[in-house]
Subunit: 307 residues, 3 copies
C-alpha cells in the first residue's frame, strides 16, 4: 500500500483535485461501501474538533472500517511527556490510517515522515486543513452547475488567521478565480497569500466594507468566524463583529447562482434568517464533507476503481 | 423512513407501550440481530451519563449498527458558541439516528423539530427520560407474571426532582395502578403529578414514613436516590438520607411477588444486604434496558416485523 | 463460556505462558480473524492509558468484536458515588468481556469476583499488568531465536514502583533467568521480589551503576521510566534521571542478540539515537502487544483451536 499522506492541499494539482471531487460524487450516490473491510483508522485529536472528528469517523464507518483514537490529548501518553514521534510510532502498530488534528503547525507533515501508515491532516494549528478545502471545492462545484472555472468568490471575516481561507485560495488557484477579500484591518489577508495570487495572475481586491455591490457580483460568499481571542481591543472586536454579519435582506439583488459557504461552527456572523434562503448552503457543505473525506481516505490508501 | 422521534413517554398510548414491551421481549430472546446494517447512531451526551450511553451503544452495536458521538459537551463545538440547532443539523448529515442527553429541559423536543433524523430523548434536564420509563414498565411486567394491571407501587425518595419518577407515573397510568408516594416534606411529589392522577382517577397516598405496612402491601418498591445537592440544610439531608434506606430485614413479611426497582446508580438508599434477596431486581432492571432500548430504536426507525 | 479472568500473571504456569505466546504468534501471522463476531468488549479505564486502551481495542476490533467503554472515570457514574461493584454489575449486563484499568490495587480481582463476565486486568495501581508481561515475554522470545530459557536480563530504572518490572520477574521465573537490577538507592527492587527469586533459586545482582560490563553481558536490557513524582529531593531526581540514560554509544560491545525493551512511554531514559540501532526493539514490542492481547482475549473467553 503506497503511502500517499495528505498533509497540504498544495500536494494536489488540478487533475488530482478533479479526480477526488469526482470520486466524492460517487460516494454521494452511495456512501455505504465495504472498501475498508478489516481496516482500522486512528483518529488522533490532540486538539478537540467534534465536527471534523465525527465527519471522518462517519466516513470510515460507512466504508466498512473501524475506528480507534482519542478526542483530546489531555488523557494521552503525550501528557506523560511522550514525544509526538513515539505516539505516532505506537499508533502505527495498530492502525492502517492515521487522521490527526494537532495544535502545532507542521505536526501532520512530521508525523507523515516517521510512519509508513498514511496520515491525513485534519488541521495543524493555523496552517492547513486540506479536507476542508476539498469539501469547499466540492460544494462550490456543486452549487455552480458543476463548474469551478472563473468564479468570483468573496471571502469575509478573519483572513489573517483563517486556516481554511488560506487553503481555499491555494485549492481554487487551479481554476482561474477572482477573489474579494473582506476583513477588518487587523485581520487582513497576509502578504504570503496575496503574493501567491500575484505570481499566478489571480485577480483579487481588498476592502474592509461588506458592501451590497460586492455581494451582488459574487458567485460564492465564503463567511468565516471572527474570533474574540484574536483581538486585544474588545471595543474593536464588538465593532468588527457587528460589521461582518450577513443577513437575509442583503441577498435581495444577488446573482441567481450565489451560494453562501461557511466552514462552521458559525456564531453570529450569519444571521439565522439566512438559513431559510435558497442561498444558504453551509449545512449541505458540511454534509459534503462526508463524501469528500471518503474520497480522500480512498486516495491516501490507494483504493481506486470506484464505480 | 418516517420520523417517529421519542421525546416524551406521553407520546405513547397503552397499545404503543405494549407493542414496544413485546418487541423488547423478542430482543431478550435474541439481542444480536442485523437490523441496523449500514446505519449509524450518534450518541450526543451534552451531559455525561455512562450507564445510559453504554446501554444505548450496546443496543445499537448488537443490532449491527455503528456509533459516533461524544461523551460530554466540554470538547464540542458548542463550547465554541455553536447553537444546539447547528450542532443537530451538523450531526444530521452523518447519522441515521440521534440519541441525546441534554442538561436543558425541552432540548430533545427542540432537536426533533429541526431535523428529519429520528431523535431519542436520553434525558433532558429534570424533564423526561422515556427509555428509562419503558424499561421500568418492562421490568414491572416481567416481575409480575406478565401483568401490568392493578399493581400497587411504592415510590420512595426524591419525588420532587426525580425525572424517572414523574415519567413512571405517566407510563403506568394506562394500567390502573395504586401509588404510595414516600418522601421527606422537602421532596414531595409535585402538584402537577398528583393532579394528573386525580384527573385519571388513579389512587395514591402520600407519607413521609417508610413503614412496614407500606412495604408489605406493595407489589413494587421503586427506590430513588436522595441527592445531597437538593438540600440547603445538611442536617436535614443526613436525617432524610438515613430514614429512607431499604434493608433486607424490612422485607421479611413482604408479598411473594414484591420486587425492588431502582434507576441506578444507587448510593446508600439500598443496603448491600438487599442485593442477595430474591426481591432485589435493580441489576436485572438495568439489563432489561438493553432490550427495551433495542425495541425503542426499532420503533423510532420504523423497523417492524420482528419475530 | 468458562470465566477465566486474567487478574495476575501469577495465575499462569509455564505451559499456560507458552500456549498463549504460541497463539500470539498465530495472530502475528494473521491478526484479522472473526472470532468475536457478535461479541462486545467493555474497556473501562478508571485511570487513563491511551496506549493500553488502543492496543486492546485494536485487538478486539481485528477479531471482529465491538467496543464500548470510557476513557477516564471523571464522567462516569462512579463520580456520582456509585460503587465499583455496581459499575461492574451494570457493565456485565452489556458486555461479553471486561478490560479494566484502575488506580486501586486489587480492583481487577474484586471485579472478577462479582461478575461472570471474564475480566482482563489492564493495570491495577502499582500491582499488576499481566498483558504487559506477556507481551514482554513474547518480545524476549522473539528476539532470542525463540528461546526464553537461561537469559540474562538487566532491568534498569524505577524498580521499586515499576509494576511491569515486578510482573516480569514473576513471568520469567519459569525460564531460569539471571537478573541484574540497576536502580538508584531510593528505587531499589523491594524485598518481596528478591525473596521470591531466592526461593526459586533465581540468580540476581543489585547495583546502582549502569556499567558497560553490565550492558555487554546482557541478552535483554529492560529500561523503565524514572518518574519525577517518586522523588522528594528534586536534585536527586535530576542526578538519577541523567545517570540512567541509555545511549547508542553504550551498545558498541554488546552481545549480538542483545535487544532493548521498554514498556513505553519513554521520556528521556532512552536517547533518540538508540532508536536507529539494531538493538532497539521497544516499538516492535508495543506492536507485539496487539497479538499478545488477541491471544489473551481468546484465552479468557475460552476460544481455542486457532490455526
Amino acid at each position: 500500500m503506497e503511502n500517499k499522506s495528505l498533509v497540504s492541499i498544495d500536494q494536489y494539482g488540478r487533475d488530482d483535485v478533479i479526480r477526488i471531487l469526482d470520486n466524492a460524487a460517487r460516494f454521494e450516490n452511495n456512501p455505504n461501501r465495504c472498501l475498508l473491510e478489516g481496516k482500522i483508522a486512528a483518529t488522533l485529536f490532540f486538539e478537540p474538533s467534534t465536527r471534523t472528528r465525527l465527519s471522518f469517523e462517519t466516513a470510515v464507518l460507512r466504508l466498512g472500517g473501524r475506528v480507534i483514537g482519542f478526542q483530546d490529548a489531555s488523557t494521552t501518553s503525550s501528557s506523560k511527556g511522550e514525544s509526538l514521534k513515539d505516539t505516532i510510532r505506537m499508533v502505527s502498530n495498530y492502525a492502517d490510517l492515521i487522521i490527526m488534528r494537532h495544535y502545532l503547525e507542521g505536526a501532520a507533515r512530521y508525523a507523515s515522515e516517521i510512519t509508513n501508515v498514511p496520515v491525513i491532516n485534519a488541521g495543524d494549528g493555523a496552517n492547513q486543513h486540506p479536507s476542508q478545502t476539498l469539501l469547499d471545492l466540492y460544494s462550490i462545484r456543486k452549487t455552480q452547475n458543476g463548474l469551478l472555472e472563473g468564479k468570483t468568490i468573496a471571502i469575509v471575516g478573519d483572513l489573517k488567521y483563517g486556516r481554511t481561507v488560506h487553503s481555499l485560495i491555494s485549492g481554487m488557484s487551479h481554476f482561474n478565480p477572482t477573489f474579494h477579500f473582506v476583513s477588518p484591518d487587523e485581520l487582513r489577508m497576509p502578504d504570503e497569500q496575496k503574493q501567491f495570487c500575484d505570481r499566478l495572475g489571480i485577480c483579487y481586491t481588498e476592502q474592509d466594507e461588506f458592501t451590497p455591490a460586492l455581494i451582488n457580483c459574487s458567485d460564492i460568499i465564503y463567511m468565516t468566524r471572527v474570533q474574540r481571542e484574536r483581538f486585544t481591543d474588545m471595543e474593536e472586536y464588538e465593532r468588527v463583529k457587528n460589521v461582518y454579519i450577513l443577513r437575509a435582506e442583503m441577498l435581495e439583488n444577488c446573482k441567481p447562482n450565489l451560494h453562501i459557504l461557511h466552514p462552521l461552527p458559525r456564531v453570529t456572523e450569519i444571521a439565522y434568517n439566512v438559513d431559510d434562503t435558497p442561498q444558504a448552503y453551509y449545512f449541505e457543505q458540511a454534509r459534503n464533507g462526508l463524501f469528500t473525506r471518503q474520497a480522500i481516505i480512498c486516495e491516501v490508501l490507494g483504493i481506486n476503481h470506484l464505480i
